[in-house]
Amino acid sequence: MEQTATLHDRELNAGYRMKRSAGMAAVYAALVVGVALMIVPFWWMISTSLKSPLEILAFPPTWIPTGHFAERADGTWEEVYIVSQDETAGTVDVRSLDGDLERTVAASAVVDRIRFRFRNYAEAWSQAPFARYYFNTILITVFVVMGVLVTSSLAAYAFARMKFWGRDNIFLIFLSMMMVPQPVYLVPSYIILVKLGWIDTYQALIIPWFAHIFSIFLLRQHFKTIPNDLYDAAIIDGCSRFAFLWRVILPLSKAVLVAVVIFTIVGTWNSFLWPLVMTNTPEVRPLQVGLARFSQEQGTSHELMMAAAAFSVAPLIVAYFFAQKQIIQSMATSGLKG
């Protein structure tokens, strides 16, 4: 009886394990498909950005940038495109990509090689003032981050640790403002910026984003968790209210502050509708708006568009690979989906 039971158990376990490992295989298979679906668009962006203009027009498309190469008379190789093919004679007419020399060579003398056209990046970079766009975005981001840090920690401190008339009501009003989506107040904001004379200036892209209600909320929640004993001790030590914030609270809140910095950077770097409406000239135009303009110009070719897209997202993606854990956490707490 005992033996059969064990046997039965073992069989059950083996069955369970087999079932389980089959199940896990299915799980991994599903995840791999998911990963492929997430990665392919990025792959396609990079791959396209390194192709030649003629390769873009090829169908079926190439997964890895590939060019046709033919040998020159002097033994060096050059990239060519195929003008026509003569299958009976086994020859092809080719023309070099740079010159317009057309010649006929044996079909076997043309080989396909993987090659990356990095000059697409230089070309895209120079076709629009991307250097300026980059500078603008960095400048705007730096100032917004600084502003948000200063205003949010001060306000959060007041909300968390001070008693004053109407505090909770004011806080509630702040929170309710957060619920109103941006498109709702876009038009009046434009009029206000007009009245301030700020249309098409950096101020228009910075100052309205100096206060970030969610950051205030987040910091306030955190400040509240810091025990009162610490405060009492500090006051006995002769520490002022501000010094307490500066020396005790902020150092204890590094993790939250980092989160605020991260989602502010990502949000500012990627914001689009606001700067689209508030800027006119390339002097203050941030990267995303510049990229959109570039992509909508008639005649911008696909490989240059993809190159521009790639170098516009590169800084955040590189940062993401170095600090993915913090970034994911920060974005998840912020509720910011971009």
């Binding site: 203009p53 027009l57 495109y81 003008v83 023309r95 400048l139 100032f143 600084m146 502003g147 200063v150 001060l154 434009y190 910026l193 007009v194 249309i199 098409d200 200036t201 950096y202 101020q203 910075i206 100052i207 002769g238 002022s240 209210r241 501000f242 010094a243 500066w246 409406v277 800027t279 006119n280 000239t281 390339p282 002097e283 203050v284 959109a292 303009r293 570039f294 909508q296 110009e297 008639q298 005649g299 911008t300």
Partner: protein, 431 residues
């Protein structure tokens, strides 16, 4: 607390300086006029790609030759974005000094008091003689005139042209472009074929985009009208219009392909299409990108010859200071001079706005380079303008979306599509 106060001050100073720094650094838009005697002005346009390059080159040349004027050329990428930016900037009382505009926008701007009348400049000491005015392509100045005042100046005007692949034509025994509708249809039929014998068509007779412009040309070639003579009602839903749209649908869907945007030009460049209709400006975008012998031809005619202009004019904004307006006029005058308009035309494919430009060596060289371009520009003699009211501009999108698009995408038969579009246009015109 004392200690704290100091800290307070420090923080205030920090905040204040950062705001100040932003305001100082942040004076974008070039509003600050340096007292160096140079008049700086902003010119907003929608010229991208090779057109933008050509325009920037000419603006740079103008700036070099005029040490006291500096024009800042700002591209908004495309007309839709330009329109949004101009309207918003006028609302903000911060318009540019000079901008490309369609006639319908001009009407809005005049109504709002934002467009400067150019008549004073034209008749002024730095103006144009009657002889020079007569040298403009017929109708261009009249189309820029409202209530006797000239408000805009022709800037980039194009007409439609037929682009044909001579090699593909030769393969089916054709030697020249079609000159009338019957030939047009017969040729696209011949050109639509399966070249490698796999049972699938790999060369189409023609291709095009959804375009009210193409339909308008066909409509008038077929003896129709866009609006009634008094401009109050749609007239494109006439039997002539229905026939024209049916013809367009047959061309582009039976023997051709409809693409969005300018993709059809890429297909043509890749040698997959026998012939396409395009703007003369398509030339600038295709230059050097095709590998076959290509030539241009005027549009085939039917009951009548007809060709509509497309493209914009420039206006000077009334709110700019006088010296900027004078500088802007100087630029407009320079840009529309025979020599410069000829170079602009040679670079981009836009029609020169002056008749005498055609005889200049630069245009003659261009005609020698591009087969058929001269015959395409010969259409300027009879080219006409679309209705230019703001109401028509609003209504035109119904012709394009409800009428032409619905028919080309086989959502409605042409007569129903045009009737629906006419209803929408009439509602717009009645407002």
């Amino acid at each position: 607390m004392k200690h704290g106060l100091k800290k307070h001050k420090l923080l205030w100073v920090l905040l204040a300086t950062s705001i100040l720094a932003v305001s100082v650094v942040g004076c974008g838009g070039g509003n600050e006029d340096a007292a160096d005697g140079v008049t700086r002005l902003q010119f907003w346009h929608a010229m991208g790609g090779p057109l933008g390059d050509a325009l920037d080159a000419l603006v740079a040349e103008f700036n070099e030759n005029h040490s006291d004027i500096e024009i800042q050329s700002i591209s908004m990428g495309r007309y839709q974005a330009l329109s949004q930016k101009i309207m918003a900037s006028v609302a903000a009382n911060q318009p540019p000094d000079l901008a490309q505009v369609y006639e319908a926008w001009t009407e809005n701007l005049i109504e709002n008091g934002s467009a400067e009348s150019l008549s004073g400049y034209v008749n002024g000491p730095n103006g144009l003689s009657q002889e020079e005015l007569d040298d403009f392509i017929p109708g261009m100045i009249a189309n820029s005139t409202w209530g006797g005042e000239i408000y805009s100046f022709p800037f980039n005007k194009s007409v439609r042209a037929l682009y044909w692949n001579k090699g593909a034509f030769a393969e089916v025994g054709l030697e020249r472009a079609p000159t009338n509708w019957d030939e047009y249809l017969a040729y696209v039929k011949k050109l639509t074929r399966d070249t490698d014998g796999d049972g699938e068509i790999d060369q189409w007779g023609t291709a095009g985009q959804i375009s009210a412009w193409m339909f308008e040309n066909l409509l008038v070639q077929n003896g129709g009208e866009i609006l009634t003579d008094d401009g109050t009602h749609a007239a494109f839903d006439s039997p002539e219009g229905i026939q024209a749209l049916e013809f367009m649908v047959e061309l582009l869907t039976e023997y051709g392909k409809v693409t969005s945007g300018y993709e059809y030009q890429n297909d043509f460049q890749a040698g997959k299409i026998g012939m396409i209709e395009g703007s003369t400006v398509s030339l600038a975008f295709m230059e050097g990108k095709y590998t076959f012998d290509m030539a241009l031809a005027p549009l085939p005619e039917n009951k009548e010859k007809a060709s509509f202009f497309a493209g914009t004019n420039v206006v000077i904004f009334a709110d700019s200071p006088d010296e900027k307006k004078a500088a802007a006029w100087e630029f407009v005058k320079w840009f529309t001079s025979p020599e410069i308009t000829a170079r602009w035309a040679a670079m981009t494919g836009y029609a020169p706005v002056r008749r005498s430009a055609m005889d200049l060596p630069i245009m003659q060289e261009r005609f020698a380079e591009v087969e058929g371009l001269d015959s395409v520009f010969a259409q300027l003699d009879y080219a006409a303008f679309e209705p230019r009211s703001a109401a028509w501009y609003a209504g035109r999108k119904y012709l394009e979306e409800t009428g032409v698009e619905a028919a080309l995408r086989k959502q409605m038969i042409p007569s129903d599509a045009l009737a629906a579009a006419a209803r929408a246009v009439n509602a717009e015109l009645a407002q």
